[in-house]
Amino acid sequence: MSIHPAAEITFADRSRQGAAARLPSRAGAGFKPQHADQILADDFRIGFLEVHAENYMGAGGHPHRILTRMREDFPISIHGVGLSIGSPTGLDPEHLARLKTVVDRYQPEQVSEHLAWSTHESHFFNDLLPVPYDAATLNRVCDHIDQVQETLGRRILLENPSTYLGFEASTMSETDFIRAIARRTGCGLLLDINNVHVSATNHGYGARDYLADFPLLCVEEIHLAGHAADIDDAGLPLLIDSHDRPVDDLVWDLYAHVIGKLRHLPTLIEWDNEVPDWSVLKREAQLADAILDRHAATDMGLRHAS
């Protein structure tokens, strides 16, 4: 009996094009070890897996055993959450060395971090805290990204934040600030569309206006996630970037809008709290795949017509 065609397609999707391979322009999932067996057994092959670098900074044990197994079958993105690139007190060289160890160990297709800070002096706050958009902070962030890219020997992507407040010290818009970082450091950008929606709502500007100003050509990966709704002191809506539920319909609309412009981009579904069964996370990923496929099909149609 010959190999079933579907099996061939699955196998082709799984193969990687050597160490310099890029993430596929498909949906990926934030990897949770409790999903490992289901992901491996699933006929549906997720496009890639993304892990938080800090969870793999221990020396050994189950975390590395499991990720090593996943890495055999899937492209991997390593997403740092603790480097504190916006820190006013400098990067922690020990932590940067630990990130390099993880990157060297897994040779991921992609490495990314946040435009945020999480440490001050010796304290670690375990949250992505905001920075003012001024010249001093821009210089500092660019120096830190240079330092990271030099140490890792590769480019990283920087993710736009979700923020709940602004700073009197800010002298430029977030999009101008991010564009300047990309231009000066050569880093790529990770566009978190849920963060765009959360920040736009919290600060009272239009998400599509933000996207129109955003340096979209530098974007190499997209994040999608769920958020919670609250209100501020003035009774205005305040959205919280909670990663604990499905992607909001308005965020899906923004995603389709961005994919309509950019066509192909690796797209991660993040779900870090109240983590559901794999089937639920997979369904979200398939929704993103469907949007990517729709635009790919439109492109094919255009090519045939011309």
Partner: protein
């Protein structure tokens, strides 16, 4: 110049001080002092660190209940914020905090339970190493037996406790009832991770002295002498040293003299 509370440290300082107003220099949409917006960050920081403690000390949480645990953990987080972005290393001073936490005074064994749980997670993340092949002892000649030393696995931990916290953790993590456990009996606990799963072993009489000596790099003969002072079953202890996964290799003086 406008104040920048990130560079000045005022933002960081206010995160763990719920009684402080939000720092100067922040903006909301209409508020001059966006207290509630700042509280989102305060809440994110505290809740995520309390969650981290709950995942590091699940048996402590089971013993006191979730509400009590979270209220207690909030106080610990504010007084002892983590100093590393590796949250699986957090809570080293949690046992000492529990010991001096008056509302938990009627559960004197709580601190020892936390000590076992902290060591359990250290072992979980320790470097991989193949455990000792018990047959290795058969290759040692009788005359050299007393002078062999054992190389510890990087995951191995041993601790003497005033309370039966190893028994409590072992049962709780296996989902078994604690009925009939006397928490006030002292015990010594050996924590090992021969492959990937962490194991909690309650050491028999003399076991603490025996494993302390071996883990400190003393010869087997010294370890046996130490154990003998506590009425120990020496052959059972040697057997445990060989099969527990606590060690990775035997160093024999034979090897060093005749390579």
């Amino acid at each position: 110049m406008r104040p920048d509370p990130v560079s000045s440290g005022a933002f960081a300082e206010a995160l763990f001080a719920p009684d402080l107003p939000s720092p100067e220099g922040l903006t909301g949409r209409q508020e001059t002092r966006p207290q509630r917006r700042f509280s989102v960050y305060r809440n994110n920081v505290t809740v995520s660190l309390v969650d981290a403690l709950a995942s590091i000390f699940p048996t402590v949480q089971n013993l006191v209940g979730e509400d009590f645990f979270r209220a207690m953990a909030r106080l610990y987080v504010a007084a002892h914020p983590p100093t590393s972005p590796l949250l699986f290393t957090y809570g080293e001073s949690f046992p000492a905090f529990l010991e001096s936490f008056p509302p938990a005074a009627d559960l004197p064994f709580l601190a020892d339970v936390a000590r076992v749980e902290r060591l359990w997670l250290d072992a979980y993340h320790a470097a991989d190493a193949a455990p000792l092949d018990p047959a290795a002892l058969g290759e040692i000649s009788a005359e050299h037996l007393a002078s062999i030393r054992f190389q510890a696995h990087s995951a191995t931990r041993m601790i003497r406790l005033q309370h039966s916290a190893g028994t409590i953790c072992g049962l709780d993590r296996a989902g078994q009832s604690l009925d009939g456990v006397n928490p006030l009996l002292p015990e010594a606990v050996l924590i090992t991770r021969p492959a990937f799963d962490v194991s909690i072993e309650i050491l028999p009489s003399g076991g603490a002295a025996f494993f302390e000596k071996l883990l400190d790099g003393h010869a087997l003969g010294d370890a046996c002498l130490g154990a003998a002072e506590e009425a120990a079953d020496i052959s059972a202890l040697i057997s445990l040293a060989l099969t527990s996964g606590a060690f990775t290799a035997i160093e024999s003086p034979e090897e060093s003299t005749s390579p």
